[in-house]
């Protein structure tokens, strides 16, 4: 309930923006840019929703007292780990739901997509996107344990860019960008596990680091 009340407006706002972007691509008919647009927007959405430390996120129109309400949150009879785990799970469910809805619209509205991909490959692409999004999501979750928005969002964005650039220059086998290009399920008909590994491993490491911070920090 708390997570939903804090994130609903940014979630709905970004979802509407995403739909408008899809509609504009639709009018341009070719539909080639639609996946790039959706990928970019969903990344932004994941970062935006990821600020789910013990601190509350400030919903639209509310700023005063949001940070101060942490004292109330930590006085509740639940462990910090549970507080954090429930909150990150709620945000990931939201991210996954929006990704799913976006995928449905892309599949339904763009005949070009149906022409180049089978339903199975498209499902693999959606799964690839969701697994990739765990990295930006957990990056913001980590930074929000010791920094307030909007700085935590900026740090998460920089971390993601660093990760993408680093993996791009290492070897094509771990190049995350290739997971949506040459190594995409639409090309290879399988999940790009090696290209997704840096995202998933980063997400796990960042989440564990966030748990470490949350359990020790004196709010």
């Amino acid at each position: 309930m708390k997570a939903w009340m804090e994130t609903r407006w940014r979630l709905l706002g970004l979802a509407v923006y995403l739909l408008i972007a899809l509609a504009l691509n639709y009018r341009n008919s070719a539909g080639t840019g639609v996946l790039t647009t959706a990928w970019f927007m969903l990344t932004f959405l994941a970062i935006s929703l990821g600020g789910s430390g013990v601190n509350s996120q400030a919903p639209l129109g509310f700023s005063e007292g949001v940070a101060g309400s942490t004292q109330f949150t930590i006085s509740l009879p639940v462990t910090r780990l549970r507080l954090f785990a429930v909150r990150t799970a709620a945000g990931l469910v939201e991210t996954t739901a929006v990704t799913g809805v976006t995928a449905f619209f892309v599949w339904d509205l763009f005949p070009a997509m149906r022409a180049i991909a089978t339903p199975a490959d498209f499902t693999r692409l959606v799964l690839t996107t969701i697994l990739f999004l765990t990295a930006p999501y957990c990056a913001h979750a980590f930074f929000s344990t010791w920094s307030d928005e909007p700085f935590s969002m900026a740090y998460a964005g920089f971390t993601l860019i660093l990760l993408l650039v680093l993996c791009h220059h290492l070897t094509p086998g771990v190049d995350i960008v290739r997971a949506f290009g040459q190594a995409s399920p639409l090309q290879t008909h399988r999940l790009p596990w090696s290209q997704l590994a840096p995202s998933v491993i980063s997400a796990v490491v960042l989440w564990l680091a966030a748990v470490f911070m949350v359990r020790r920090r004196e709010y």
Binding site: M1, K2, M5, E6, S56, P59, G61, F62, E64, G65, V66, A67, G68, S69, Q71, F72, I74, S75, L76, P77, V78, T79, R80, R82, R215, R216, R217, E218, Y219
Partner: protein, 296 residues
Amino acid sequence: MNDFIIETAGVRRSFGSHVAVDGLDLQVSQGSIFGFLGRNGAGKTTTIRLLLGFLKSGGGEVRVFNEVVTGPEGNAGLRRRIGYVSENKYLYPYMTVQQIIRFTRPFFPKWRSDLELRYMDMFHLPPNRRISALSKGMRTTLMLLLAMSHGAELLILDEPIEGLDAAVIETLLKELVALPATEGTTIFFSSHQLAEVEQIADRVAIIDHGRKVVEGALDDLKVQYQRLRVVFDREPASISWLPGADHVRQEGRTVSILASRNVEGIVEQARSLPGASVERFPVGLKEIFLEHVRGN
């Protein structure tokens, strides 16, 4: 095992080079109303945050319900037994009164809907108004409702009457006084409102610079402490008063003494001085407080 709900032994806590709590010993018995007093920055809120485990102590031991408070990582079960009102009185501003109650209720299996309704009515809280639109006094009463409705065995209240109007304070104090008898609740509260503390506390502690300077049953303190006014027929030379003369102030021919013990001996000493007449006055909590924190 003992019957102390709160027990601290030599607790210390620093923030950088600033020592906020310095070897604090406290014992709070079950069913008591314990007033915790001190100036701004004396260490009251830090102590309360140590009791709740929000902060890790830098030495000594904190026990609540006989359980060692370990710091941020632990004691979640302990907090189920504690009702807490924070100093800043901030709740989630985007929720309404009814929503925050609905959010908080499931955390506490012993939630008392009868008390919830009683306090909603008592404090005139509008159920559908957003917390961001509540006055500070209303936010305080809402926090009190949340703390007092979940069947807490211990209430830890940090400045609970700050921002409340006189009528609400009166109602609240009556309610707090009744809680130990009706529900067996122990109340530990900090406040700057000494008159209100004096009205309801049965035991008080005063801290200054993180150290306890006075602790005792309020009635005992009032008996123990006396103000002596010694008037001389001419300005006296420096006098070495007997032990127990805690605070001595001289203004011309008049010497004012706050005595915490050995009062009879000090009176005898004063009477034995040439040209001196002695008067004794009872003292209130405010005077005890001011004498102990003034000039430190």
